[in-house]
């Protein structure tokens, strides 16, 4: 195993702390924030151009020193899935079809603990007598705060990987918790945030390419761009997650889009879904497989526990009930996936703000089993209108 202790102990560069420069090109801004001295991937000929009025920005959150960076992703058409000729593909990646995506901003990095912890901290804060339990029927207008992490399992594992802090990627949350986080984040910032749809994620990852990876078909090059199973060992020789932004970005300026942690998307995992659209071109709303059962769910891009073939642009990671095996309680917590140490998420913010109803669809509980558990009494909720945050400039 390669030892990467020197890399692990690298202090964060000042770029983390400063505001990202509003460069005209996302890629240029990305280079400015690079903690390691590597040059980004050159913008490829096929990469869709970012319109001049879409600029990268840094999102701050009231009362929190930590910020996160967003980069523009133009609208366009993506061929999702992989051709049958692609090496090591899974048949669930086909048949291929075209999806038209509208412009959005996407997290330059995977969501990190320094931000996610602030959301988790609301549970005890509201538990200090200040919060009120919100009846189930008002849930649509409330944010659910996750019950505490399952320390006996997650504690040592996360501690080994450098803790749950700073610019390490937040992990082991369920899709429901990630969605509620984006609802909380929207209330805190005054900007609409949500998880990406599967097609949006693939459009952003591919950046106009049709090859297995955005840099071509040669998996050997993955080491330059991603932490995966064969290169992510920590100083103790075991694989683990790494600070975000340690590898080269993709042509849109997205870091760790492959590897480090797999990224949860909105869609339900459904291996028969693509067949409905074979050879067609559809809009992103039509392509979106809205979930209706708690499992299976879906993450994209692979993580530090993934083999290189599972980091391909088309690779789909199926998340099942087994990913929450180690929760010794019944019913299991709807907020955590106890096996998801290499599963996190990245947020997006579409240019065109949807209706309030559609926003709630992106944020709220979407299946009966989870809704049933939420009716129990461990809930700490807060009405969106009570989550104070200044309305950020659009």
């Amino acid at each position: 195993m390669t030892r990467l202790s020197s890399k692990r102990s690298n202090p964060l560069s000042k770029a983390w702390l400063g505001r990202a420069a509003c460069a005209a090109l996302a890629v240029a801004a990305a280079a400015a924030a690079l903690p390691l001295a590597v040059s980004p991937a050159p913008a490829r000929a096929e990469t869709p151009a970012v319109p001049a009025d879409m600029k990268p920005f840094t999102q701050s959150i009231v009362g929190l020193a930590a910020t996160f960076d967003m980069v523009p992703i133009p609208g366009g058409t993506v061929t999702v899935g992989s051709p049958e000729s692609e090496k090591k593909r899974n048949k669930a990646e086909g048949p291929q079809f075209d999806v038209e995506v509208e412009p959005f901003y996407m997290g330059k990095y995977e969501m990190t603990w320094d931000i996610y912890n602030e959301y988790l901290a609301q549970y005890p804060i509201l538990g200090e007598g200040k919060g009120k339990t919100i009846p189930f029927e008002k849930q649509a207008d409330a944010v659910s705060y996750p019950t505490p992490i399952y320390d006996i399992e997650a504690g040592p594992a996360l501690q080994r990987m450098g803790g749950r802090e700073g610019k390490l990627p937040a992990v082991i949350m369920s899709q429901f918790a990630a969605k509620q986080f984006t609802k909380w984040l929207s209330a805190k910032t005054g900007r609409f945030y949500r998880l990406p749809t599967e097609a949006e994620w693939e459009f952003a990852a591919r950046a106009g390419t049709k090859t297995a990876y955005f840099f071509g078909d040669d998996a050997k090059k993955l080491d330059d761009y991603a932490w995966h199973y064969d290169n992510s060992a920590l100083s103790d020789g075991e694989v683990g997650y790494h600070k975000v932004g340690g590898k080269k970005p993709n042509p849109f300026g997205l870091y760790d889009i492959y590897g480090n942690v797999a990224e949860i998307v909105v869609d339900q995992y459904d291996d028969a879904w693509y067949a409905k659209f074979a050879g067609k071109k559809v809009g992103w709303r039509e392509a979106l497989r809205w979930p209706d059962s708690q499992y299976p769910r879906l993450a994209r891009g692979g993580g530090y526990e993934s083999d290189v073939e599972n980091c391909r642009s088309a690779a789909r990671q199926k998340i099942t009930v087994n990913d929450n095996k180690k929760d010794p309680q019944i019913p299991k917590s709807p907020y955590w996936w106890t096996e998801g140490f290499s599963i996190g998420f990245r947020v997006v913010s579409p240019v065109k703000e949807p209706s309030a109803e559609e926003k709630n669809k992106f944020w709220n509980v979407d299946n009966e089993s989870t809704a049933d558990v939420l009716k129990r009494d461990r809930e700490i909720r807060q009405l969106v209108e009570e989550i104070t945050g200044p309305k950020a400039p659009k």
Binding site: P124, D151, R160, A299, T320
Partner: protein, 451 residues
């Protein structure tokens, strides 16, 4: 079996762990000895239908399809009913409990023990465990009980006495300290017991995490109902988090030292903002324990978000150091580090998570002991590890050096004399709705010596 789609190495390991689990269950099934005339049938009852009680029941049901749940008790009617409903939905073939065998109230446990059962699962808040355990032993049931096994010294004494009866009756007793069934711990501690790190001079154990759930007071709740629903925050029910969580780490140290420490002193308190919902417990404890050999243990547990998190155990010896939770041993003489290797996954790939789930293994081994009628009793270390945590709490609450023997003999009683929904609770809120917590230097934790 895990689908291979986009699977990670972890999935391979999970799959192999499932396979290992299946193999183990198959062994259990294959070893039909002298149980119920060659049948695998086990009838189980559940007392305390909360999250962990339901989880433990699921694991007991996993041991064989011939295991059935026949009766359920909870203090709260809604919890007992919803647990049965959920089990009927999840495991339709294994649930024989009916409305007539679903009980609620403070005496519901007696009604479960009146049923024909092979095993009862005791998973109420810890304060009730000694009373329930004693009754289960008297009723001649095999027992799986969750940790800790009491919240005060009189309770532990009662449980120890009942456990002697359990041994005489050859009842099987399992305790939910699942690290005893986790291969990494078993192998690492065997190395320490084999003398690999020499004589132990220091142990360090931690549970620094986050505050657990709260359950809020609602309109019309009596004080007793509020405390029972929000039991984590009341010492008589939970023992404080040093008992409820940190016991896992203290238990590992006692396992290494082959017995509990002889005394403890330490500091603790409540520093975070709190309301009525936070009851009376501390949010941090830090202890120095001393073992009979003179070895010291540093123990720390904390519920303060934003601080250094750790759930781990270490042992330092004259020849080396063991990171027990990490499954690693380093040697002072420069020998290469020893590292625990988890069971390999598919294709011999190594990684984390290849071992069977210890929460399942503890039930598989207990069920096998019941079926084969082999001696099986984890009650003594369950009791001494629980008492070690209670001793720590007594030391932080009082600010004194407290001896284990004094604590066990004279530790004060916390439990109420009788249990009624509108009855008196051991602690009451003040005029401001808040509960007083212990004050080191003033709080007394020992009853007077008997003349």
């Amino acid at each position: 079996m895990t689908d291979s789609i986009g699977s990670t190495r972890r999935d391979f390991l999970k799959t192999s762990a499932v396979a290992a689990g299946v193999a183990l269950s198959a062994n259990v099934v294959a070893s039909r000895m002298a149980y119920a005339a060659g049948s695998d049938e086990l009838k189980i009852g559940l007392v305390g239908a909360g999250g962990r009680g339901s989880g433990a029941t699921a694991q007991a049901l996993n041991t064989s399809n011939a295991v059935s749940l026949v009766a359920v008790a909870d203090a709260f009617e809604d919890k007992a009913k919803s647990a049965v409903d959920r089990f009927k939905k999840d495991r339709p073939g294994q649930i024989a409990a009916t409305a007539a065998t679903t009980f609620s109230g403070f005496d519901a446990y007696k009604k479960v023990l009146d049923q024909k059962l092979d095993m009862v699962i005791l998973a109420t808040p810890p304060g009730f465990r000694p009373m329930h355990f004693e009754a289960a032993v008297q009723a001649g049931k095999n027992i799986f009980m969750e940790k800790p096994v009491g919240s005060d010294a009189p309770g532990i004494r009662r449980l120890l006495a009942a456990n002697e009866e359990a041994k005489k009756k050859n009842l099987k007793v399992g305790v939910g300290l699942q690290r005893h069934h986790q291969q990494k711990y078993i192998d690492t501690i065997k190395k320490i017991h084999d003398g690999e790190i020499g004589d132990i001079v220091l142990l360090r154990v931690y549970w620094n995490g986050t505050r657990p759930w709260v359950r809020k007071r609602t309109e019309g709740m009596t004080e007793m109902e509020f405390q029972m629903r929000n039991w984590y925050y009341f010492t008589w029910l939970c023992g404080d988090h040093i008992c409820e969580q940190h016991i896992h780490n203290l238990d590992v140290a006692n396992w290494v030292m082959k017995g509990p420490p002889v005394e403890a002193q330490g500091a603790g308190g409540r520093q975070l903002p709190f309301g009525s919902d936070q009851g009376e417990i501390f949010d941090h404890h830090m202890l120095e324990y001393t073992y009979a050999s003179g070895a010291k243990m540093l123990s720390m547990c904390r519920h303060q978000p934003g601080c250094w998190n750790a759930v781990s155990e270490y042992a330092h010896g004259t020849k080396g150091t063991a990171d027990i939770s990490g499954g690693r041993i380093t040697f002072n003489d420069g020998r290469p580090e020893w590292k625990y290797q988890a069971a390999p996954g598919e294709g011999g790939k190594k990684g984390r998570g290849g071992d069977p789930d210890p929460y399942q293994v503890e039930h598989d081994t207990l069920a096998a002991a019941i079926r084969n009628n082999t001696p099986y009793n984890e009650g003594d270390y369950g009791a001494s590890s629980s008492m070690t945590a209670i001793l720590g709490r007594m030391a932080t609450y009082s600010g004194q050096v407290v001896k284990y023997s004094d604590a066990l003999e004279r530790g004060e009683e916390l439990m109420p004399r009788d249990y009624k929904w509108d009855g008196a609770t051991p602690v009451k809120p003040g005029a401001d709705g808040l509960y007083a917590c212990a004050m080191p230097g003033k709080t007394q934790v020992l009853a007077a010596k008997k003349a």
